[in-house]
Structures are given as structure tokens and as C-alpha cells.
């Protein structure tokens, strides 16, 4: 296998807060190959967005980040801020959760796309017509006119298409999508996801989808990284993860995914809550919620390679 496009190794993030140090990420490792589609799945507060923020170095100043993020031969955590700004948008682009809020309210959307192109000098003098072409590419009807529209004049789905057009503007090698469909209704969700993954594979971009929706992740991604309380608990090809989850948490998540269940009360849930990330933590942060845990689990957490491209962090895997 060739070298991955991006390799995150032992990424740890600790936030200094008034209530104590919050260990939001603990030795998170995963990698994404060129053109691969990977989902990062976990419940709220599991560290999905913090991972994206740490990779792009946009966390607040109270965050202490350690580890390595190797991207195309460079450690993104070590390069100067000026070089990092050149990476953002041009080589790694992001699609946001709330598309309307991610657009400047008083600038026409075409201008905002043209800005990205101009910033990275990708369109020569003709950023505007490139912006219109991008809007056409993301399936916005009548792009010449829509390019002059303000965000409040467009629907949520259209705004998300604009945000995707902005992200694709410089043909980045990696697309990060943080809950890109949260604010959209179900039919629009499917359209936006099809559009995004379609354009990513047409252009040979790798994509990382951050979501709490395991079904969505399985449908659109090759591989799934499951996070829990700042740990990567399992990392496996999507089909394998669904068929044979090894980590008890993943198994619970799979059971809680409304694919087969006909009624709401047939759905399983994951008992317990995420541990408080301040203060002392057990080596396995799922220990308190786990039905399989025993004394062995109190030793330092292992990472077991249990199959081709399948890793699980557990002493008592299924």
C-alpha cells in the first residue's frame, strides 16, 4: 500500500479551562489514502470536530496539541502559520455544519467563491466566471443569476451547495466535511451527500466525513473510524464494521442504527454517558459503560490489529 495522503499519529488535545484540563483527544491515530472516503463517527463530545480543528490548526489558544499530522510529506503541526494558511482552502478544504452561517451574510455568494480562488491565485483574472462555473458544477440552476444572490436569498440546500463549491474551488486533495447535512431535510441530505461524494471521486479527492450518523457513514464511505470520548476505539472498512464490529461500543452503535428496526422501541441504545474528560480517567474510557469489562481492562489500552485494515482498542473485543 502506498503512503497515505494524511496520517494522523498520536494526536492529543488538551483544553485548559477554568474547570480543569479537558483531555479532549488522547493519542488519536488514523490515516486516509489519496481518493479514499473515510467517516469519523461518534456521539456528541467524542472529539470528532476537535480532530478536524486540530488537523487544520484552528482550535482556540487554550488548546495544547501534540502528535503528528503528516500531510503530503509535511507535518502540519510543525509548519509556520503562513504555510498553514496556504494549505487551508487550497489543499485541505472544509464543508460546514450550518451552511447559511458559514457564508458572509452581506456578500454575494459568487464573490465569496471568487475570493477563495483569488486568495490562492487559482483563476488568473477570471475568478468570477470560474465561480459561476463552480456553481453550475454543484447543480445550482441559473448560476449566473444565483452568483449575485446573497445567502439569505437561497435555501439551506442551495447554501450548502455554495459551501461545497467554495470547498472544491481550488481542487483540494482532502475534503473535510463536518456534519454537512445536519441542518438539511432528508431528501436534500441525500442530494448533498451524493453531490459531494460524486464530485470528490470525479476529482480524485480524499474525503473525511464527520458525522454521528453511522448509516450515512456506511452508505457513503469506504472506511469508518469510530471515536468515543477522545479515543479511536475501532477503525475498519465500512462493510466489515457493520458485519463484525469488534469493539463493544461499535456493536452498540450498530445495533442502535435504525436500518432493520421497524419500531422506535425496538432500537437499542448505548447505556451510560460519556465520561467527564476532566480529572482522572480509566485507561479505557468506555469501561464504565461496557458490559464486557473486567480487571484486565484497567491495564493500558491496547491497539489490536485484528484483520486487514481493522484495528480495535479493546482488551475484550467481540
Amino acid at each position: 500500500m502506498s503512503a497515505p495522503l494524511i496520517a494522523v499519529e498520536d494526536l492529543s488535545v488538551t483544553f485548559a479551562t477554568r474547570g480543569g484540563a479537558v483531555r479532549a483527544l488522547d493519542r488519536v491515530s488514523f490515516s486516509v489514502a489519496a481518493g479514499e472516503r473515510v467517516a469519523i463517527v461518534g456521539e456528541s463530545g467524542s472529539g470528532k470536530s476537535v480532530t478536524a480543528g486540530a488537523v487544520l490548526r484552528i482550535l482556540d489558544r487554550n488548546a495544547a496539541v501534540s502528535g503528528r499530522v503528516a500531510f503530503a510529506g509535511r507535518d502540519l503541526l510543525g509548519i509556520p502559520e503562513r504555510d498553514m494558511a496556504a494549505v487551508r482552502g487550497a489543499e485541505i478544504a472544509m464543508v460546514f455544519q450550518n451552511p447559511r452561517a458559514a457564508l458572509n451574510p452581506i456578500r454575494p455568494v459568487g464573490r465569496q467563491i471568487a475570493d477563495v480562488l483569488a486568495r490562492h491565485r487559482r483563476a488568473g483574472g477570471d475568478a468570477w466566471s470560474r465561480a459561476v462555473a463552480l456553481l453550475r458544477e454543484v447543480g445550482i440552476p441559473d448560476p449566473e443569476r444565483r452568483a449575485r444572490a446573497y445567502p439569505f436569498e437561497l435555501s439551506g440546500g442551495m447554501c450548502q451547495r455554495v459551501v461545497i463549491a467554495m470547498a472544491l474551488a481550488c481542487r483540494p486533495r482532502l475534503l473535510l466535511a463536518d456534519e454537512p447535512t445536519t441542518g438539511l431535510d432528508v431528501t436534500t441530505q441525500a442530494n448533498v451527500m451524493d453531490l459531494m461524494t460524486g464530485l470528490a471521486s470525479e476529482n480524485g479527492m480524499a474525503a473525511v466525513l464527520i458525522t454521528h450518523d453511522l448509516a450515512l457513514a456506511a452508505q457513503y464511505c469506504d472506511r469508518i473510524v469510530v471515536m468515543h470520548a477522545g479515543h479511536v476505539v475501532e477503525d475498519a472498512p465500512a462493510a466489515v464494521l457493520f458485519a463484525h464490529p469488534r469493539h463493544p461500543y461499535t456493536a452498540r452503535l450498530v445495533a442502535a442504527t435504525p436500518a432493520g428496526a421497524g419500531r422506535l422501541d425496538e432500537l437499542a441504545s448505548v447505556p451510560g454517558e460519556l465520561p467527564d474528560l476532566r480529572g482522572a480517567l480509566l485507561p479505557c474510557r468506555y469501561r464504565a459503560r461496557c458490559e464486557r469489562g473486567d480487571e484486565a481492562c484497567d491495564a493500558a489500552l491496547p491497539v489490536r490489529v485484528t484483520g486487514p485494515a481493522h484495528r480495535v482498542a479493546c482488551w475484550r473485543p467481540l
Binding site: 496556504a86 487551508r88 482552502g89 460546514f96 457564508l103 458572509n104 451574510p105 456578500r107 475570493d115
Partner: protein
């Protein structure tokens, strides 16, 4: 997709605001008139504003001299018309200066926070600790009597107002998702400030500029009235009111009255236009 209704253009919206509220319409016409007089000034004045003619000194308004004449026989209408340019220039220059300095300082303070914020806000607090007109008097007295110094003094006393408005507007926007998005598109902090934050803060600042225009004119005239700033025999509303004030008791009211009226109308017009502009830029009023 249905043929979407074209969004109302800024121009048609502005026309709507002006026509909907007749007072704003009137103020707008008045401002256009004042600016026209300022530009045309000397060429539409019927007499030379500095030519004294003691033969017609202290004459009340008549057909030959609609605003009457002063103690030196100078035509007051001509002097009022010519003075418009100077008063307006002082106001525009000081407002532009305070917008550039106070606005940028406030923007940086609100966006960057930290020590930039502390330095800018403490400067603003220091200025606000003085009675503003007395501070303006002190500045002009210290720097010397000149038009430029009146502009500087007027700009300085308005600094806290602009810095505070720009600061609060920038501050509420610095963590907005679209600012984050701009950062993730590879923009640097200065680029975000100039291209993302500033255009958003601009409408509020423009309203403030119109409101401050009236105040700046009043301030300049006030300084001239007490003998600071512009000196006689320059045609300037404040000086003319000051010169005329001595004659009110003896019945020659028109010398002070007409420049005072011009002053009042100008301040009134700019304040009302400011209120109208607020309606234009406030999205909640955009229905």
C-alpha cells in the same frame, strides 16, 4: 423552479425609504441642496462676500439684500452661501478622519482583543473623561487657531464613539461561522478583517457618520463662535453668528439669524438623513 422574484435592488429600496417617510425625503433633498450650495458657493453668491460697503451697512432684509447686510455692509446671503463650503469641508474632513482612525482602531480592538483592545479602549476612556467641547477648545488653543486644527479637534472628540461602535460590531462577528470559514479558506487575519468583517460593519458606521456630520458642523461653528478656529473676516457660520450676536439687542436680528438658520437646517438635515439611513441598513426594517 419557479421564476424567482428578483431581489429588490439597493437603489429601489433606498427610493422606497425616501418616499415612504416624507421627513427623510425632505432631509435628503435638503442635504443635496446643501452639498450643491457648497460646491457652487462663490459662483451663485449675488455679491462679493468680503466687499464692504458702508453705505448700505446694517440694512434689514430687502429685495436687493434678501438676508440684509452686516455692520460693514457685506451681503449676508452671499456670506451664508459661501460659508457652506468651509463648514461642510471641516465636517466632512473631521468625520472622514475619525472614521478612518476610530473605526480602524475599534475594528482591530474588537477583532483581536487582548492588549490591542485594552490600549484602544483606554485611549477612548481617557478622551471621554473630559467634557468634549472643552477638550476641543483645549486642543485648538494648544495647537493653534487654524482650520486644520479644528478638524483634528473635532475628530479627536468623536474618537471614542467610533472606536466603541466598531469594536462592538467587530467583536460580535469575530467568532461567526463565516469568519471561521474564511480562515479555513486560507485567509489571514488582516484579510478577514478587511474583506469579511469591515463590509459587515460598514453600514452601521455610515449611519453614524451621517449623524456625526451634524454634530461636527455644530462643533466647528461653536469653536468659531467663541473665537477659536476660523478667524474673521472669513465667512463661516459660527463667526457670523458671533458677530451678529452683539447687534441683536439693538434690533439688527438678521445678522445672526440667517447664518444660525443655515446652521440649524444643515444639522437637522444630516441627523434626519442618518435616521433614514438607519432604516435602510437595518434588515429588521426591510419589509
Amino acid at each position: 423552479m419557479s421564476a424567482a422574484v428578483a431581489p429588490p435592488s439597493a437603489l429601489s429600496h433606498a427610493r422606497h425609504v425616501v418616499t415612504e417617510n416624507p421627513v427623510t425625503g425632505l432631509a435628503f433633498v435638503l442635504v443635496v441642496l446643501i452639498v450643491a450650495v457648497a460646491i457652487l458657493g462663490p459662483s451663485i453668491a449675488p455679491y462679493d462676500p468680503y466687499a464692504s460697503n458702508t453705505a448700505v451697512a446694517l440694512k434689514p432684509p430687502s429685495w436687493a439684500h434678501p438676508f440684509g447686510t452686516d455692520q460693514l455692509g457685506r451681503d449676508i446671503l452671499s456670506r451664508v452661501l459661501v460659508a457652506t463650503r468651509l463648514d461642510l469641508t471641516i465636517a466632512v474632513a473631521s468625520v472622514a478622519a475619525v472614521f478612518a482612525l476610530g473605526g480602524l482602531a475599534g475594528l482591530a480592538a474588537g477583532y483581536f482583543g487582548g492588549w490591542v483592545d485594552r490600549v484602544v479602549m483606554r485611549i477612548a476612556d481617557t478622551i471621554m473623561a473630559f467634557p468634549l467641547f472643552v477638550l476641543a477648545m483645549g486642543i485648538v488653543a494648544a495647537l493653534g487657531n487654524s482650520v486644520v486644527n479644528v478638524v483634528i479637534a473635532t475628530a479627536i472628540i468623536n474618537f471614542p464613539l467610533y472606536a466603541r461602535i466598531a469594536r462592538s460590531e467587530a467583536n460580535v462577528r469575530r467568532d461567526a461561522p463565516w469568519v471561521e470559514a474564511a480562515r479555513l479558506a486560507g485567509n489571514g487575519e488582516i484579510g478577514i478583517l478587511a474583506r469579511q468583517i469591515l463590509p459587515n460593519v460598514m453600514p452601521i458606521m455610515v449611519v453614524q457618520m451621517s449623524l456625526t456630520m451634524g454634530y461636527a458642523i455644530l462643533n466647528a461653528a461653536g469653536l468659531s463662535f467663541i473665537g477659536l478656529g476660523v478667524r474673521p473676516p472669513t465667512a463661516e457660520w459660527g463667526i457670523m453668528v458671533a458677530e451678529g450676536a452683539a447687534f441683536i439687542v439693538s434690533g439688527e436680528w438678521w445678522i445672526a439669524f440667517f447664518p444660525g438658520l443655515a446652521l440649524m437646517a444643515t444639522v437637522f438635515a444630516f441627523n434626519l438623513v442618518g435616521d433614514g439611513l438607519r432604516d435602510v441598513v437595518d434588515p429588521r426594517r426591510r419589509t
